[in-house]
């Protein structure tokens, strides 16, 4: 039963991910990406990782993608204003993405586990995950939170207008 669900969800995820790349309208593209995030959250739920499921929904589908959609809707992108990339950068991207795919394939071919029938554990429940994060992994956890804080302060600093600029606007 669960493995059927896994394959249905997986197939739909690949479908929406492809549509995201192939869609010509950027807003449609973002909407497909949101659908992809939903389906990936579904996979988390299949593994009984409730906390990851809901955090993925809140953070990615609910917050980050809303901002993406926001910007795209206001920019009103269309064919005429679409930026064209040079052939050199296109080549670089294709080659690096290809190398990444080969690496991933090599890693997954080694792994003989059936992805559809992972053992159900309780590690994804809030209590267990919190306990693990604050005992075994407390140093990486705190370091990553400092990184986030630094990124936030940096964003505020970049976004903040200098006093002189503000005065010019006010005049």
């Amino acid at each position: 039963m669960l493995s059927y669900l896994f394959y249905i969800l997986g197939g739909l995820t690949i479908f929406t991910a492809l549509r995201m790349i192939l869609a010509s309208n950027p807003v449609h593209s973002v909407l497909y990406l949101i659908a992809t995030f939903f389906l990936i959250s579904g996979q988390y739920l299949l593994m009984n990782a409730q906390f990851l499921f809901i955090v993925n929904l809140i953070v990615y589908a609910g917050a980050i993608m809303v901002l993406f959609l926001f910007v795209l809707m206001l920019l009103n992108l269309n064919k005429e204003t679409e930026p064209q990339k040079s052939i050199k950068s296109k080549f670089t991207m294709v080659i690096s993405a290809g190398i990444l795919m080969i690496t991933l394939l090599a890693a997954f071919i080694q792994n003989q586990h059936d992805p559809a029938s992972l053992p159900l554990t309780d590690i994804g429940l809030v209590k267990n995950l919190g306990r693990v994060l604050f005992t075994n992994y407390v140093v990486p956890f705190e370091i990553s939170s400092i990184l986030f804080l630094a990124a936030m302060v940096g964003a505020v600093l970049v976004g903040k207008q200098k006093n002189e600029e503000m005065e010019e606007i006010n005049e």
């Binding site: 609910g62 809303v66 959609l69």
Partner: protein
């Protein structure tokens, strides 16, 4: 197991029916409350005291022309109200409506799903609710709709932060994310509103903003934006948007009662000497009384306070509510440590 499944299915159907019924009669109540506050009579033609008015309104909505603008994105235009309604109906799944009930030798809780992540589930669906408005507003291909959608969604994103922070303080005192546990921890008059008055104040302000209700209903500010994000909508699609707002109001009232006013708990519930079933049934009624009061409160505020200006709204959200919520969070943490030490 199968009995449990049947009971849960029946419970889902009942909750769904009650949600829709209450949302329907909220529209009637809104007009009656508005009439009362403005010294008018209000709807009184359809049936005694006009209680058939919601049915008449619903019928009217269904039979209006269902218009889709030619230059709109047709599928997204249809999807918008669908998402709004779907999200509004989903959130009722984790709300604990009552205590334990024993029927046919089986004891069960009056809650569809007591999941571990109850309150996060509600926050998650809240943040998805933005899409209904954004997609609808953008797909209409109308400047005013887009402005309305942008206003509504930026307002919802901004106030979600303060709301999440104010909920965190409550989670810290009750030590669980599950709504069932949060209600149980308030048993015996230990209501969170007495321990977290600031969090309650912040939460209720944010709830008004999240529901796009007055005084934060800038998304549908008629003098500036015609109808806001649903300018181009007609018939039952418009009905869905308006209806979703009333469902959200009902769910928000339920969550306020659960988080801060003890949910189905009521004073002296252990001293009455009644059987557990009777206590549960009274509890459900008390819970609905609390919800009705907060729905009334929503309307009371709407017909009392004038609308905010947009920059005032953003100032209030980012420069007042969020710092206050963080202070409250730090204060709660300090208090919890202090309580453990002595």
């Amino acid at each position: 197991m199968s009995t449990l499944l049947i009971i849960k299915t029946v419970l889902i159907l009942i909750v769904f029916g009650i949600t829709l019924g209450i949302a329907m009669y909220s529209t009637y109540l809104e007009r009656k409350v508005a009439a009362f506050l403005q010294d008018r009579v209000g709807p009184d033609r359809a049936g005694p005291w006009g209680i058939l008015q919601p049915l008449a309104d619903g019928g009217k909505m269904f039979f209006k022309e269902d218009f889709i603008p030619q230059k709109s994105e047709k599928w997204l235009f249809i999807l918008g109200p669908g998402i709004a309604m779907f999200v509004a109906c989903m959130t009722s799944a984790v709300i604990p409506w009552g205590g334990n009930l024993t029927l046919f030798g089986e004891t069960f809780k009056l809650q569809v799903a007591n999941v571990d992540i109850g309150i996060l589930y509600i926050l998650g669906f809240l943040s998805i609710g933005v899409y209904g408005i954004m997609i609808g507003g953008w797909a209409s291909n109308n400047k005013y709709s887009l402005y309305g959608a942008v206003r509504a969604s930026s307002q919802m994103i901004s106030y979600e932060l303060a709301m999440g922070l104010s909920i965190l303080a409550v989670i810290m005192t009750s030590g669980s994310l599950s709504l069932g546990d949060i209600v149980e921890s308030q048993h015996g008059g230990q209501w969170n509103v007495f321990y977290q008055p600031l969090a309650f104040l912040l939460f209720i302000v944010c709830a008004f903003a999240e529901c796009n209700r007055a005084p934060f209903d800038l998304a549908e500010c008629e003098t500036e934006l015609i109808g806001g994000y649903h300018t181009e909508y007609s018939s039952m699609k418009l009905g869905f948007y308006l209806f979703a707002e009333y469902i959200n109001m009902f769910i928000s009232s339920a969550i306020i009662s659960v988080l801060f006013f003890g949910g189905y708990n009521f004073p002296f519930m252990d001293d009455l000497g009644l059987s557990e079933n009777a206590i549960t049934l009274i509890g459900v009624m008390v819970f609905f009384a609390k919800i009705t009061f907060f729905i009334f409160f929503f309307m009371w505020v709407r017909w009392t306070l004038p609308r905010f200006r947009y920059d005032q709204l953003m100032h209030l959200g980012w420069k007042t509510l969020i710092p206050l919520a963080i202070l409250n969070l730090m204060g709660t943490g300090a208090w919890l440590i202090f309580k453990d030490q002595f």
